[in-house]
């Protein structure tokens, strides 16, 4: 079943248009990866879907249009974004950051506390630092916190914007393992933007290749890496 679908999605910043009619689809239970060079429009795609920047064209989520919805109501639809550069609340404690993630939930503080405990179990290093200010965490810890915070809203689809940015390879592998696990065992769908093509393609159900705001190729990881031109031009191996 189709979870997220964009049709003729156009977006940009002020007079500059970055996305030129983007067509994208994420089915339930999939991990979809967007690859592309710097400036291809990967982050803009994420920001357009989550409603942070003005956009044109249609975006539907579970068949309902969210193309004109505000960011806060899009979260309420079940779509949570981990912004690039983590976007934690640096002045707030780790635990308060997590509670902010649960802001849209209405199922009571006991259920929220149980989820905090659960994600502390998944990310034990966050549990150790629960009372520290998020700004004092290392890059990897902040990325974990950003993902945990997004999961606190119990999303159906997680948008992850380059979680590997600035992280050591081992930490990146650890993070991706968590995402794969959540996808396999919890049925969480993931839309992932990455430059780390090797690692991301390995776990992707489907890959979109972006160039100057358009999809230039799509397929499974194997299909794309089998194509010599694509492999050399975009994937670098």
């Amino acid at each position: 079943m189709t979870l997220l679908e964009t049709h003729d999605l156009t977006a940009g910043y002020g007079p500059i248009t970055v996305l030129h009619g983007l067509e994208l689809q994420v089915d339930e239970g999939e991990i979809v990866v967007i690859l592309g060079a710097n400036g291809a429009g990967k982050t803009t795609t994420m920001r357009a879907i989550s409603g942070v920047i003005p956009r044109h064209g249609s975006v539907t989520f579970e068949g309902r249009s969210i193309g004109r919805a505000s960011p806060d109501s899009i979260v309420r639809h079940g779509l949570a974004q981990v912004p690039q550069g983590r976007g934690t609340f640096p002045e707030l404690s780790v635990e308060d950051n997590m509670k902010c993630g649960a802001y849209v939930r209405r199922d009571g503080s006991a259920a929220i506390a149980a989820d905090v405990k659960r994600w502390f179990g998944t990310f034990p290093r966050l549990a150790e630092r629960r009372n520290q200010r998020a700004g004092s965490l290392s890059g990897g810890e902040q990325q974990m916190l950003a993902i945990a915070r997004a999961l606190m809203s119990r999303p159906k689809l997680l948008l992850c914007d380059e979680p590997s940015l600035g992280l050591a390879p081992l930490i990146t592998q650890e993070l991706f393992a968590v995402l794969e696990h959540l996808n396999r065992d919890e049925g969480l769908s993931v839309l992932l933007v990455e430059q780390n093509a090797n690692l991301a393609m390995h776990m992707a159900s489907r890959v979109y290749l972006l160039e100057t705001g358009r999809v230039v190729a799509t397929g499974t990881g194997e299909e794309l890496s089998a194509d010599d031109t694509i492999r050399k031009a975009y994937l670098g191996f």
């Binding site: 109501s73 979260v75 002045e91 707030l92 802001y103």
Partner: protein, 307 residues
């Protein structure tokens, strides 16, 4: 000792008013990074409203609630209609808008109530501006020889209770969490589903209502209201917020109390040197001193950048 205590008590009481002004400034600054120049004049309008209620024979308890509601509406409307449209363009534009509002509100007050000191026997039924606390000349407690009049002591207690309540709201409630999140990272706040526009509107309303409370208790202490009432309070309140740290509500309250005490001690012990006229200069000395030594204030967090 008696003299010292007297200056201390007077300082703490007047400092409570500065604390309320500073608290309002800090709530707005934390949310949006703007210094609200009209904070004092927004409070003054509500203070005049409370005076007017008194003229109509409405008891001070109800008049205060109405005054605070008016204060909240002024603040919320200012954010929605004046600040929000220009904030996207530049922070400097917001500065100009609040400066314009400062002028505009003062003009409005003068158009409605004139430039006289109110209440006065020519136009008012009230003898003096209504106070929330017992105000007879016998209403005081004596501590080690120094007198603390109940209307002064009451102001301090009011501010301490309000500070405790605000602390709980900020740190324990869902709304407080949202306010802190918006102050910390506005875009991420949107991404977790916080309606940041609503939070900012309520923050401005709250700040303005707190300012209105400051105006009403200050007019109660003075017994009168006039067009210049809140100007010095705004200056002292800014000094207090600078001293405490512009993003720390607790620091703002402590800063307010400290400024009040410093002001009273200086004017009391050095009457020739500082006196009543020169003591406003102390506020500027404090502002410049803090900015030179510790720009983030006592409890503020040093920001790397904030435009």
């Amino acid at each position: 000792m008696e003299r010292f205590l007297q200056y201390l008590f007077d300082g703490l009481s007047i400092g409570s008013v500065y604390a309320l002004m500073a608290l309002g400034l800090v709530i707005i600054y934390r949310g949006t990074g703007h210094l609200n120049f009209a904070q004092g004049e927004m409070a003054l309008f509500s203070t005049y409203v409370v005076y007017q209620m008194g003229e109509w024979g409405i008891p001070i308890g109800i008049a205060l609630i109405i005054g605070l509601a008016v204060g909240f509406l002024i603040g919320a409307a200012t954010e929605v209609f004046l600040v929000r449209p220009v904030a996207k363009k530049s922070a400097f534009a917001v500065f100009i808008v609040t400066l314009g509002l400062f002028q505009g509100l003062n003009w409005l007050d003068s158009a409605i109530w004139g430039d006289q000191v109110l209440p006065n026997s020519a136009v008012s039924k009230q003898q003096q501006f209504p106070t929330l606390f017992p105000n007879k000349s016998t209403d005081f407690v004596r501590i080690l020889g120094a007198e603390w009049r109940l209307k002064y002591l009451g102001v301090l207690l009011l501010v301490l209770v309000l500070t405790a309540v605000m602390f709980l709201v900020f740190n324990k409630s869902r709304a407080g969490l949202a306010m802190r999140a918006v102050a910390s990272n506005s875009e991420s706040a949107k991404l977790v589903g916080i309606r940041t526009h609503q939070v900012l509107m309520v923050s401005w309303g709250l700040a303005s209502a707190i300012g209105a409370l400051g105006g009403v208790v200050f007019a109660g202490i003075n017994g009168t209201v006039n067009l210049n009432l809140m100007f010095t309070v705004f200056i002292y309140g800014s000094a207090a917020a600078t001293l405490g740290g512009f993003d720390s509500p607790g620091g703002a309250v402590l800063g307010g109390l400290m400024i009040g005490v410093i002001e009273n001690m200086a004017a009391g012990y050095f009457p020739d040197w500082v006196g009543q006229e020169m003591k406003l200069g102390l506020a500027f000395v404090v502002i410049v001193g803090v900015l030179l030594v510790k720009p983030s204030g006592m409890f503020g967090t040093a920001k790397v950048e904030r435009v």
